[in-house]
Symmetry: C2
Subunit: 345 residues, 2 copies
Amino acid sequence: MPSKKQSISDFGEKELIKRLLKRSQNISFQSPFFDELTFKSLSDDAALLDFGENYLVATTDLLTQTTHFPREMSYQQMGKKIVTVNVSDLAAMGATALGIVVAMALPSNLSITDFDDLMDGILQACEQYNMALIGGDTNESEELTLSGTGIGIVPKNEVMMKSGAQEGDVVAVTGPLGLAAAGFKLLLADDGEIEGLNPNSKDKIIKNSLEPEARLEQGLKLAKSRAVTSATDITDGLLSEMGELIDSNKSSIGIIFHEELLPIPSEVHVVSGLLNEDPLEMVLTYGEDFELLVTIDDVRFNELKEEIGLYKIGSITTSGQIHMVNKEGKTKILIPRGYEHLKKM
Amino acid sequence: MPSKKQSISDFGEKELIKRLLKRSQNISFQSPFFDELTFKSLSDDAALLDFGENYLVATTDLLTQTTHFPREMSYQQMGKKIVTVNVSDLAAMGATALGIVVAMALPSNLSITDFDDLMDGILQACEQYNMALIGGDTNESEELTLSGTGIGIVPKNEVMMKSGAQEGDVVAVTGPLGLAAAGFKLLLADDGEIEGLNPNSKDKIIKNSLEPEARLEQGLKLAKSRAVTSATDITDGLLSEMGELIDSNKSSIGIIFHEELLPIPSEVHVVSGLLNEDPLEMVLTYGEDFELLVTIDDVRFNELKEEIGLYKIGSITTSGQIHMVNKEGKTKILIPRGYEHLKKM
């Protein structure tokens, strides 16, 4: 007989985190260091601590072997990824990455060569993002687990939040969509299914999904422009993040976007065709694309488009909903959803 | 045939972390926010980032169910502990705790009641230490894993490091030793072995080990006194931390301490007697006592002793070694060792 007790899989990741952080705000405390120590951004990609003219930005992400690391992922790629997922959250706030601490739970029989590879991945990613590995902790566990906390800094007048989009703003993304889904789906495909695919293309698509790069430089440029009204990364899925921009806004905003404006590389169509998958699902809900979703002042958009590399996909409305205009010109209402850990579908 | 490949268990936690952080220092990078962004304390309890007159302090600790949480530990106690272990590292640096981010890997069938209890433990501990829960991440894993990153702040002229002890300094601890070992050993004992123990005493000793408290207040007072020459917490074991104070010092210092000065509560002797355990092992190498080990200017010690609650156990020498004067007045050389995750003994 099944228990009637609710388990956390009835809630899903985002709801659990909100449950946790909301109760946290009821704690009152005083700090001798700040007149007002503010912890912002309950629903944002990272927490903000008030440090004079700047915010200190802190974010944490944990990756486990079973859930996050496909069998084909090298230890070096795992190390890179724990840095990249955290930097992506810093990038979404417009922060400069300062450092990261990485706590690891490792199987005791892990070879020292594999440990060194993991370490090389972490350090290479730190070098790439101009930040330092500033601390760590190792423990024993049957399942390899990596937990990173990224620390960054952003001037208060440049910080990008999820909440500021306004009617008429351009909705844009920083790069191609659906490539991560294509890569991960190729990893699971039978050889027979993808016979028609050029082996070089296959390797390239897979490598891209196993070694994503955070849009730190674009995040910084966007923040410096001060033209961005809201921003988030879309690693949990483009559609669910559109929902976050709507939910966190005090006004009743909506988003309308155009299917034909979505920057979908030909590889995504090739893979979806071979595997009989819906390319739109790969682009809108699968997640794992390390791009930023931003809303930008309409007048400033054209000037920034070239410099930063932005793809306009739509604009902000007052509908309170997400509308997609499909290739036939028909408008559909979409429900925000994406990949969420723990949540039963 | 056993493989000749070395595994990480041939190294042990501290060596792995040093391996990781040493390579990290070779990365050069520039920050637009600081003239010189220093990452100190390779061997300290936490990392220091240069923020003008203050250091920002960051530390991370990860706990897994199998290794760190006895069956008898409640979810609330697990939540308290992930905060406490991180705050203890901040306390050892003399830092004020600002906030913590907690990433969790949770079994999907965890009940929402247990999740709420875990959360209550985290929040209660945050309240106790006057800090905020500022972020989190939840993921799915078979083994419950909690990873915390504590963030604190300390004025540069107050920070306590492992490296500054000088000949003649008093060596002291902030509280009783061996109680944690007594509690954990009681949890593993058969009822028959501990028949003679008063049930109230048993419960009290066990509760103390399952719900330790970090010496944050003492750490802050010690830092403000500016009389402390070096400090660390002793959760990894008193003896191994004495070794750390010696190893991290540029001069060739040593430590001499007196067995009869060790603050060992009667309960520790009772438990060690019943279980036929060596009380000194429980005090010196078992670890898990959430006390601080500090070295203090000889002249200032008496004034601080009462105010902060310090127990002098010995003094700093130039021997390069750890000497213990036992109850018979004989001096022995001790090898620094303690509990280390991963390390095969």
